[in-house]
Symmetry: C2
Subunit: 398 residues, 2 copies
Amino acid sequence: MDQSYPLSGIRVIDLGQIYNGPYATFLMAMAGADVIKVEPRHGEPLRRRSIADAGSLPLALLNANKRGVTLNLKHPRGRELLVALAGTADVLLENFAPGVMARLGLGHETLRAANPRLIYASGSGYGRSGPDRDDLAMDLTVQATSGLMSVTGMPDGPPVKAGGAVCDFLGGTHLYAAVVTALYDRERTGRGRLVEVAMQEATLPTLVSNLGMMHLAGGAVPPRTGSRHGGMAIAPYNVYRCRDGYVAIITATDRHWLNVLDAMGRPDLKDDPRFADNETRAAHMEVVDKLVGDWTMTLDRDDLLAAARRHHIACAPVRDLTEVAAGPHMHERGMLTPFDHPDLGPITAMTSPLRFDGLEPPALSPSPRLGADNADVYGGLLGLSADEITALEDDGAI
Amino acid sequence: MDQSYPLSGIRVIDLGQIYNGPYATFLMAMAGADVIKVEPRHGEPLRRRSIADAGSLPLALLNANKRGVTLNLKHPRGRELLVALAGTADVLLENFAPGVMARLGLGHETLRAANPRLIYASGSGYGRSGPDRDDLAMDLTVQATSGLMSVTGMPDGPPVKAGGAVCDFLGGTHLYAAVVTALYDRERTGRGRLVEVAMQEATLPTLVSNLGMMHLAGGAVPPRTGSRHGGMAIAPYNVYRCRDGYVAIITATDRHWLNVLDAMGRPDLKDDPRFADNETRAAHMEVVDKLVGDWTMTLDRDDLLAAARRHHIACAPVRDLTEVAAGPHMHERGMLTPFDHPDLGPITAMTSPLRFDGLEPPALSPSPRLGADNADVYGGLLGLSADEITALEDDGAI
């Protein structure tokens, strides 16, 4: 890796699984770190799922630019090797259930005793303390417990999850952030430390609008608002149907509202006191949404977007994933890139949302096959001979 | 601020507005940085909205532990003062529309010419380059364009937004991450740099399950799956109604499925080939969901949760925000804390999802009133006299 990348020279032992941990270490790999993905001999859960194919693209996307080894933490030699790997590393990251590593005798005190500069990063659903610590946590259940699900969906329908794994990735992003903060801190103190992020806590801040509405209502439960503003405080702010799809429209300022009226050909409404400012429009939300929705239903999406652009209205297409993956914008910026994956064939890969001036996203290398770098890591990094490596494999330790 | 906090000694000039930028700098303040929130004389948009009250709690939550000054960037003296502030700082962060700072003569080249160690952080909807750069971007519109909205909602209903401002906060978290990465890099190079994050790109990774399903379908648009798995690859994985609410249940392993059958009192189904493993269960998703849903409808939520805990099933309550805010877990961990805000009265405040061992979340200080720290910052930091500050206020520069 080019030495100009900010995390070049940093080595990461990545015990991450599924999405939360692997995304944090994906960001590290894309920032230049040497990330060694450590999996059990039968593969991490997402790889096992990928044998039935459903996880294969996610596994490939989130583990690009990492090396891959197998390691059996239930084998005494396997545990010794993990301690040895941690001794060569700057960061060890795991998102097992809280307590798993300690029960293996590989808790952060043990590893940091062996390497005081090690940053031990722990991602979990609810954190390493507190009464809910041991509740089983995946993206879906954290969407439920965090309150996010309760405010997602139509007012007259059931609560529904956000369609992306937002809790896994909010958690993973915060976990990357915590690790790099600790790396920065280590420059001053010389010491590593334990950092941890709970997915539930990483999700909570997204609900500030809804919490604001609850506060104003004296603590009453905020209703689901569909695609309206979580605080019911802005109008227009909604998803509107057009002839061949949907658009999202939001008016951040009164100027935007006047622009909407111009686009609708309704300048006569500019003096209507019901729409004088955002507060009065929010108080007449049904009327406002009907006015706008009746207009959008008369137009095709592309024509609507063209009109919105002419009139400087914040109006966006509700794009499906084929449009997202093929759209020129993220390709031009290098966030999306065609990639020929050795196992999957041609895919659209992603790079990192973190952009540093003067640095292109690093060239992509494919996600490792299971144990692909055993020889490289156990030989090159830990100095084991080929015979020793074969013996460890035969013994079920790696 | 206690010197043991990882970002103590770091000064941040915070031009952030609404959620995206202010969340990034909130994380910095909670990690020990001295954050100076810079607002126009009439307040940033969220503060203006807060005059009608709806934004008041979000403004308070996201701007705790910051200092606050007013500054008129349209005034020549105001611009000079910003350059002077940037000269004292480690980080300047803004989430204006791309190009706004350059048009003011305050682009990153200008500011970094004055202070080569400055990290200039730019948050936006679509980034500083590319054909969609200038599209007006807020959380709602980015939910639409990023594809997140297209996969959120019931299969037979319209696309709907995630109920939290997930794009704003995914963007803000990545922006914090980019800044701290650049701070770490600066330890080695001595130079600051421009970092940028686009909210759309920060959202894209959350869609890997859905992109995986699209890949398997040969590029066909993935349907909305309601609360089912985005890749339709796991069963049971859904939200189920019970007598007095909803729960989310997910079976990550076949063992979990056997546990579900035990909890349901249906051990007779353990040998049913339709349910033999996750792949076959996913192929019989309707049957699986009906089995589970018929069971959950017979129970109250608390009884269902108790049964799930006994049988080690990943089952979580769909909690409303009153339950979230009052639940003991995040209070015990210090993520939520009662706080007496001077303007709002008693509120439930939040601290940071980033946890560093041995460090409690810092004591909270209230979000600043507009211009509350003008004397402190322009006097104490830039060395202006009380008369000069008064003259600047009278002249409309601050």
